[in-house]
Amino acid sequence: MTALKAHALRKRFGPIAALDGFDLEIAAGEIAGLVGHNGAGKTTFARVTAGLVLTDAGSVQILGIDVATARARSLLGLAPQELALYPTATARENLYLFAGLYGLRRRHAHRRVGQLAEDLVLGDVMDRRVRDLSGGQQRRLQAAAAMIHRPPVLLLDEPTVGADPVTRDALLATVRTAANEGAAVVYTTHYLPELDTLEATLAVADHGRILARGDRAALLATVPGHAVVEFDCLPAALAVSTYGPVEIRREDRRLTITATEPAAALVPLLAAHPDATAHLRGIELRPPTLDDLYRHLVRS
């Protein structure tokens, strides 16, 4: 079931097209990693989805309801990129405010606040003022405020910026739990390894539109990986060239082969130079990472 559907979004800020035909669909229970460089349109998309910015064209629907309505807003949990908490109120008071704004009954709110405090390791600091919390604790509290009403769609805009490893682990685990309970999660980030941890699908944004969308493994299969071959001494006769989609780079006593299937490209190369195999010390295969995928997509 499609939980979030953005169709042909366009938004200009003066001469800049922040969104330029932005399409994205996310199913219930799916975590979609929305990645892209600064200015790719991630935050504008988040603000449009939260009903904070009107688009020039296109539509966003949450469970089939247009985001301009209060009903749609009640179905969305938002953790914006910048901290949006009351520094002079305690962590607990902040959470009770958002629980109330989403119409949670007192008893239900009490239970939910307690649960999120435990999940996000905030139990000891709930009665401290937000301004006295560490950056990581504030980040976790911001995520808790987004999840307080168990929204079917969660929009987390770079929730782990500046977060320490403990904060990051707690956040990722809680996001995973929310998805397991059926929430569709849009997770924008520059830390691509987090998307591996979350087992997220990918949406790569650039210049206000989605460049690539789908399963990580399928997308990664289109990106060249590397095979690094080390020799005792590199025979001068060993051809170092680029043929077809295979790129070979020679460096000291090492060859780096870049190809969609680098191992397959290596076999004919070594077969053509049997003398080289006698000097072979080791082969290291480096599969493409999400960083490679992102660079590859943006370059191409």
Partner: protein, 267 residues
């Protein structure tokens, strides 16, 4: 999941009350200064009574009403600062993204601020009644109506100021200047009849002038004479609302216009 509007408004009212309670310094200051100045200025206003004539506030009446107007104008700055904080803390967008509507958020935020401004005036008049025997001729209810109207006017002007200001420092500077100019034109410190001629002509342009006029009528005249100054306060309150509505809806109006142009351009 959603509950009646009252739940959301009450959540915001509770939260705003907490925020005000956490930072009571400025409001306490404006009450204490008001009380002090009532004590200091009361004999002065009594002494100049023969110059001012019977239709003018004298003694305790002038001191209490003048300080109520003056320090509620300074309280405007405090109220506006609470609203501006929402922008500097980035919480305003977070509230708008919740299921609470714009009106619910605004009501929830302004009700506690309104209550504080009313309480400030109640303390100043209450103190004047207990310590110096102030007694409104039109009745306490008339004074209460004036206090409620003036507090609402101050609050809505504060809402307008919070949308105009870009930073707390800007709000503080502009708020001080506005409060002092309005106080002077109101005749809160120096009765209007003693102001230089050109200032006397400008005085009706100040909302404080009409607030003091309303208090004067409640204290020494009849309820019937409250109508005109109260109507003028409504006008000033509408100006405050108009400013905030215009500034607040500007980006939305631009977006709607752009959308309509897109529709026109499509074949």
């Amino acid at each position: 999941m959603t509950r009646p509007i009252s739940t959301r408004v009450m959540a915001e009212v509770r939260h705003q009350t907490v925020l005000i309670a956490r930072d009571p310094g400025p409001m306490i200051g404006y009450v204490v200064m008001g009380l002090l100045l009532i004590c200091v200025l009361r004999p002065l206003y009594a002494a100049v009574g023969h110059i001012l004539g019977p239709a003018t506030l004298l003694g305790t009446d002038q001191a209490a009403a003048g300080m109520a107007v003056m320090f509620s104008l300074f309280a405007l700055k405090v109220g506006a600062a609470h609203l501006l904080n929402e922008r500097t803390w980035h919480t305003w967008d977070r509230l708008r993204a919740s299921s609470a509507g714009f009106g619910e958020i605004l009501v929830g935020k302004t009700v506690p601020i309104f209550a504080v401004i009313v309480a400030q005036q109640a303390i100043l008049f209450g103190f004047s009644a207990i310590a110096f025997g102030l007694k409104p001729r039109a009745g306490w209810w008339a004074l209460l109506v004036c206090a409620l109207a003036w507090s609402a006017c101050v609050l809505l002007l504060g809402v307008g100021a919070s949308t105009l200001a870009r930073s707390p420092a800007q709000l503080s500077a502009a708020g001080d200047i506005f409060a002092l100019v309005t106080t002077v034109l109101a005749g809160s410190l120096v009765p209007v009849v003693l102001l230089p001629g050109w200032l006397r002509h400008l005085a009706p342009a100040s909302p404080g002038y009409w607030a003091l006029d309303a208090y004067r009528n409640a204290l020494i005249a009849s309820p019937a004479q409250l109508v005109r100054p109260l109507m003028m306060l409504v006008v000033f309150a509408a100006i405050g609302v108009g400013i905030s509505a215009l500034i607040g809806s500007w980006p939305r109006l631009i977006a709607i216009r752009r959308r309509s142009l897109e529709v026109v351009r499509k074949p």
